[in-house]
């Protein structure tokens, strides 16, 4: 095959997979026209679900496969894809990085759009590759921490990283802007402007729907994403060379690749054009050994050689390639850090001693310890949640739970018969549950309590019952007792006072979300009573049926 065509093939493949990734990301929400394809007559047990296989890229990711296996002892669903990628890497090297990885493609595009270094500077930079051992250090750190039960891979895994950044920061950032514009247009008295707002919303609906979400800590995700893109100004594909733990894993696996760069030192004139286009500092130039575990399979060198001295050919794996340049320090350091982090993470006592009241996990979540062995912090559950309740945690779940999903009831609530979060979780940290299971068992995520000092009727400030009205269980977990209280002027005030029946409350949080006391509502949900934890129960016999 001609080099030109191979590079063209790579570009096509990169574009295709990047678009596919963004498409699946945008489809990680209930379809706007969902209701048209749903017939309640035929399917009273039917669960509303997404149309697209939105976890595809997560299933293709061998790092997620291996870390889940190591820490959660669990084979993630669709792991055949990841095995396929591993097999592909064993045969062809890091083609995933060069042809498929959407984050790699973004870096590649950034570097191509505005090259950081000219060819000569890149030759220099590529001959003194600095920092490439960091990614092995990170890989070993992540895997050894995973082995000890704290799975942090999602923080640096490129698929999780990209999904989280785009879905929770970039898109909501644009969406918030659109929302403000639309609101200004809708408020106008000029009908033309009203219609313009409607038109804009109609146009963006396929991407945003009509709900514009916002997420806690999104600014940080966005900033980190931009910084990592900006690093391409230092070296092309800086992330892929230096930081990416998946790249490191695939680099290790490409040790025996059969698709190899063959160099013809007789034809070579040492023009160093190949080193000047190399994305991964893989020493394509004849005279030095090809660094196959650094090679991103961009095939630029093959394409650039004017003397026809470079060829990618299939060769037997017996002719061993040089191993990955890990260095003893990276290995030992990674091991040490990886072993200590899980213990440091539990120092705050949250896993073993108490559960933080704010760690309200999505319905179907595994017990906290197991949850942390599997959660990738990818943001799929947060993106799909129709009420925007699920948010990345900042400090609620402790250091080890950074960016894991928690429900913030002032931002949204858990809709009684919605099970979308569990249906999209790529690793099963949130179990897929049916609506029947969620309602009938029931699956509790916490429990509500009334803050009587703030509550309108309890504090003698007037009638309300909004929490009771929205309570979705039958009979309602929030119930009322009529009472006469002294009002502010001393006269008797007849009101209905809300109480919470803990046996019925599932912790959905719609009461907190709709309470007229905003910000810190007069009825709030805490994690106590969550089904997933045996320790975090209030009642003596919490599992008794009513």
């Amino acid at each position: 095959v001609k080099a030109k065509n191979l590079v063209r093939l790579r570009r096509t493949s990169q574009t295709f997979f990047l678009l596919l990734f963004l498409f699946l990301l945008s489809q990680t929400r209930l379809s706007q026209d969902l209701y048209l394809n749903y017939s309640p007559v035929f399917s009273s047990e039917q669960t509303l679900a997404l149309d697209q296989p939105v976890t595809l890229f997560f299933q293709m990711d061998p790092l997620i496969l291996i870390s889940s296996l190591l820490s959660g002892h669990r084979l993630v669903e669709g792991s055949l894809w990841a095995l396929g990628v591993l097999l592909l890497t064993l045969c062809l090297g890091r083609v995933f990085c060069g042809f498929i990885c959407p984050l790699g493609t973004l870096h590649h595009m950034t570097g191509w759009f505005r090259p950081a270094l000219d060819s000569e500077a890149l030759v220099k930079a590529n001959s003194r590759p600095a920092g490439r051992r960091i990614k092995y250090f990170l890989l070993i750190l992540l895997l050894s921490a995973a082995l000890l039960g704290l799975n942090l891979t999602g923080l640096l895994d490129p698929i999780s990283f990209l999904f989280r950044s785009v879905a929770l920061a970039i898109l909501p950032g644009i969406g918030t802007g659109i929302r403000e514009l639309v609101e200004i247009l809708a408020a106008s008295d000029a009908r033309a402007l009203n219609h313009m707002g409607r038109g804009i919303e109609y146009l963006v609906a396929p991407l945003f729907g009509y709900e514009y979400k916002a997420f806690q800590t999104a600014w940080f995700m966005g900033a980190l994403f931009l910084i990592i893109l900006f690093l391409n100004r230092i070296r092309p594909r800086f992330w892929c060379r230096t930081l990416c733990p998946l790249g490191a894993l695939l680099g290790v696996c490409s040790r025996f690749t059969m698709f190899r760069l063959e160099k013809d030192s007789i034809k070579c004139t040492h023009c160093r054009l190949c080193t000047g286009v190399c994305q991964g500092a893989a020493s394509p130039e004849p005279g030095s050994p090809w660094q196959n575990s650094e090679c991103l399979m961009c095939l630029n060198c093959y394409d650039s050689c004017p003397e026809d001295a470079l060829h990618f050919r299939f060769g037997l794996p017996s002719r061993a390639n040089p191993g990955p340049d890990m260095g003893r320090r990276a290995v030992l350091g990674g091991l040490l850090a990886g072993i200590s982090i899980p213990f440091l993470g539990t120092l705050d006592g949250q896993v073993h001693k108490v559960a933080d009241a704010r760690v309200i996990r999505p319905p179907g979540s595994l017990p906290e310890k197991e949850f942390l062995t599997l959660c990738q912090r990818c943001g799929l559950c947060m993106k799909v949640c129709p009420t925007n309740a699920i948010n990345p945690s900042l400090s609620e779940a402790g250091m080890s739970g950074f960016w894991t999903p928690v429900l913030i009831m002032t931002l949204g609530y858990c809709q009684y018969n919605c099970t979308l979060c569990g249906s999209v979780c790529p690793t099963g940290a949130i179990r897929p549950i049916s609506i029947k299971e969620k309602i009938e068992i029931p699956v509790r995520i916490g429990s509500a309590y009334v803050d009587r000092g703030r509550c309108l009727p309890w504090s003698g400030n007037g009638p309300c019952i909004v929490c009771e009205e929205h309570c979705p269980t039958s009979p309602k977990a929030v119930y009322l007792h009529e009472a006469s209280l002294p009002g502010p002027d001393g006269t008797s005030l007849k009101v209905k006072l809300p109480y919470v029946d803990l046996k019925r409350c599932v912790g959905c949080g719609i009461c907190e979300n709709k309470c007229p006391v905003r910000g810190k509502p007069a009825i709030r949900v805490i994690s106590a009573g969550e089904s997933r934890s045996f320790e975090n129960q209030i009642l003596l016999d919490p599992y008794a049926t009513q």
Partner: protein, 310 residues
């Protein structure tokens, strides 16, 4: 009918009221009586499905016929908006949302009357997609070609409610940008207002701080009903929610009444529906306020009353 006309009509009506009040206060009370008599007498039709497996559509049709035919309310070329109660993401048999068969019947009847555009609009509480899907409204829209309007930012606009209690509120504009408005609630229990029927259904027509309305729920209900002023109110009482309302959640909370109520008087319609719950309309405060403030009447004697059965 645009918003502008709405407010013009509103002000004319206010002037008329003021005039009535003045004339009534002077000794010449006869003049008031003459004026009142010239106003059209409101009607109310109660339709009851008695036979096993009766067709809801036929019942709805028959009801409109006995009220003088749909053409009395919907003219050829009209833009009609239907406001069902789709607040909750719940299946129809839980009676938390308007019965999809009634909704379908009303859409078809309006289409037969020559409506140029039929919209179904509600600012739901739960995620609208799931509400529309589970309640069956989506299926109705697909089957009939009616437009199901998703609540969204560009369709919310602050308007003057001009009520005694409510002033400036965000309104779901499809409900006021129509020639004819059909209120199509379901009859349900509610722990503060006792029942949620037609007048209270208008809380689904606004956005904003809806949770604050409960502090004066009865006057808020009357204010909203006066603002939206539907062409007719059709209360779905095929199934009613007798307790645990307004969200329901269990088939045990549901009772079959196989009844539909149609009226051009919002208070009268709600009063008739309240009797299905064995409640005295005079004891429902929002009805009392509505009656007193001239929105309508719960006095059956002042209505042209008809009953149809199938």
């Amino acid at each position: 009918m645009g918003i502008d006309q709405m407010t013009r009509r509103e002000s004319l009506r206010r002037l008329f009221q003021l005039f009535c009040g003045l004339t009534a206060s002077v000794p010449a009370q006869g003049a008031f009586k003459v004026l009142a008599a010239t106003e059209k007498q409101p009607f109310l039709v109660e339709a009851l499905g008695r036979t096993e497996g009766y067709s809801v559509k036929d019942l709805t049709k028959k009801m409109f016929e006995s009220a003088g035919g749909i053409n009395r309310f919907v003219s050829r070329g009209d833009v009609v908006v239907i406001k069902p109660n789709l607040s909750w993401s719940a299946r129809p048999e839980l009676a938390a949302t308007t019965n999809p068969h009634v909704l379908e019947a009303v859409v078809e009847i309006c289409a037969e009357a020559g409506a140029s555009k039929i919209r179904i609009a509600d600012n739901t509480i739960h995620d609208p997609r799931q509400c529309f899907a589970l309640s069956g409204a989506g299926m109705v829209a697909k089957k009939t070609g009616a437009e199901l309007v998703m609540p969204r930012s560009s369709l919310m606009k602050k308007m003057k409610i001009k009520g005694r209690r409510l002033d400036l509120w965000p309104v779901f504009v499809p409900l006021v940008e129509a020639d004819k408005v059909i209120n199509l609630p379901i009859a349900k229990h509610h722990s503060l207002s006792s029942l949620t029927l037609g007048m209270k259904n208008w809380i689904g027509g606004i956005g904003g701080r809806r949770w604050a309305l409960h502090q004066d729920i009865h006057q808020s209900i009357v204010d909203l009903a006066r603002f939206f002023r539907p062409t007719v109110t059709l209360i779905d009482a095929i199934r009613i929610l007798t307790r645990n309302g307004p969200s329901g959640g269990s088939p045990d909370d549901v009772a079959a009444r196989n009844t539909l109520i149609l009226s051009d008087d919002q208070v009268a319609a709600d009063a008739a529906a309240s009797r299905l719950f064995q409640l005295d309309p005079e004891k429902l405060w929002f009805l009392k306020l509505g009656h007193k403030q001239g929105l309508g009447t719960y006095d059956q004697k002042r209505l042209v009353f008809k009953r149809v059965t199938l």
